[in-house]
Symmetry: C2
């Protein structure tokens, strides 16, 4: 029997993070409000002041993260006046000055991105997953995401391939589509820093910012059972719910009471799990 603890805090994470001890969190996974987005719900942060807004929060996150821990930041800059805004890359530079190591940048390829057509631009189908660390020696459990090819192939082929194969075949001679057979013949899939996940566009009470598969992958990769996962911009609590299911302790901070209450209602502060052969993450 494993007991997993959930802590939910209501308020601005810049303040609420101060209630969390130094070096106590194994993974921070979050998707903050993007600049000028969600103006109605979060008030909206102007691109020009985004770095300044985020930096003190990042400072607290740096404090609460264990030296072996990892911070994964899901973010994407929007277009302003025909150009990509630079606040995200400015944030990277600023966080480095703050003491963070910018270890890696993963790409989340959104298969079902928002539609639309413009004369000067295609649809934006990717977001950044910036990996930051306190120390060069951090915990990483690669084998947890190096799943057998059987499962991975099904996912890849179901999610990706029918469309991709068609598109590939139309590009003969350009190097497209040559290597699909290679993916099929492997017994182990080696993950890369590119993730393919569809957004979940059909949620009930709320719109999830990201699919569950996203936090799940990083929780597998950077934590083990019993570790602690923090989301300082909890929103609808996707990260916490997934962490919970995977037998990790979770901390969530949310500034909006309606989201805070909703998550508290959905997830209990203590969850009990039964250890069973074969069944992972099964609730007791």
């Amino acid at each position: 029997m494993i007991e997993t603890r959930n802590v939910f805090l209501l308020g601005d994470c810049e303040e609420e993070l101060k209630n969390i001890p130094d070096n106590s969190v194994d993974l921070i996974f979050t998707s903050p409000p993007y600049a000028d987005q969600r103006v109605k719900t979060y008030g909206g942060i102007h691109p020009d002041s985004y770095v300044e807004w985020f930096l003190p929060k990042a400072e607290e996150m740096l404090r609460v993260l264990k030296p072996t821990g990892t911070f994964v930041l899901n973010i994407k800059e929007k277009v302003a006046d025909g150009e990509r805004s630079t606040y995200v890359i400015e944030l990277i530079l600023a966080m480095k000055k703050q003491g963070w190591l910018w270890t890696e940048e993963f790409i989340w390829h959104k298969r079902n991105c928002y539609p639309g057509k413009w004369p000067n631009r295609f649809r934006d189908a990717w977001e950044r997953l910036l990996q930051f660390n306190k120390d060069k020696k951090f915990s990483m459990y690669q084998e947890e995401v190096m799943v057998p090819m059987g499962d991975w192939a099904k996912t890849r082929l179901n999610n990706l391939s029918e469309t991709d194969k068609i598109r590939d075949e139309s590009k003969v001679g350009s190097g497209f589509g040559k290597n699909i057979a290679n993916w099929l013949s492997r017994d182990k899939a080696f993950p890369t820093n590119v993730l393919h996940l569809a957004t979940e566009c059909n949620n009930k009470n709320h719109s999830a910012a990201f699919p569950e598969g996203l936090p799940e992958w990083f929780i597998k990769l950077f934590t083990k059972e019993g570790d602690t996962v923090l989301d300082p911009f909890m929103g609808s609590g996707t990260t916490n719910m997934v962490a919970n299911r995977m037998r990790r302790n979770s901390i969530g901070i949310e500034i909006l009471p309606e989201y805070y209450e909703m998550v508290k209602y959905k997830l209990s502060p203590v969850e009990l799990y039964l250890c069973e052969e074969g069944g992972k993450y099964e609730k007791a």
Copy 2:
């Protein structure tokens, strides 16, 4: 009969670019030596001085590009001492100060055949394709790169137009409404800003920096026949060869005599093409 002109220059592009007139190039597509990469061939540029090294060259490129033209820069920062280097994002900020517009960042997802494994990092499967422009109004031929629609289109195409009509009627209020013709007989969709191309695994007598499909896609997108494509870091001449095949004029600058000679040998300064029904890019 169409005549296409190729110009090859031997030398440092910072100097050689000065031989090219103002506002004369429609597309610059290039993959410069990455910092600390290709140490043997280019001498290697240290990450700390990369921006400083690149900037005067970018200044000349800004001069030779037409106002309607586009600069596509294929680049990826390497890992140094466990961290991603920041010279690429610093370069973006510096080029903006120089007058460039950072219009878009495309992702080249490299579907590679050779996996790798490190204790703290997965294989890097993507590179940046940074799009810069001089002006907000630039030429873009989107219909040239359309891709087949997803699977659902086969069975759901009819329904989609129904759905769309209904959705449209809910917004009726003024004018003609939408153009239904856009949806009838639609079998292609516009692509996104994520490109899937396999790296070329077959080794030739040189190591190509990128597969032919990469310049081909951007040449289709940003130029028409008879336009001029420039690669200031020509290397083995992939960009020029593709441009040539697609009936665009090309300019290539290369600092290493052996590459320069090889390309001159492969590609003649003037190519003649026969215009035929149905056959695109067929050599006379």
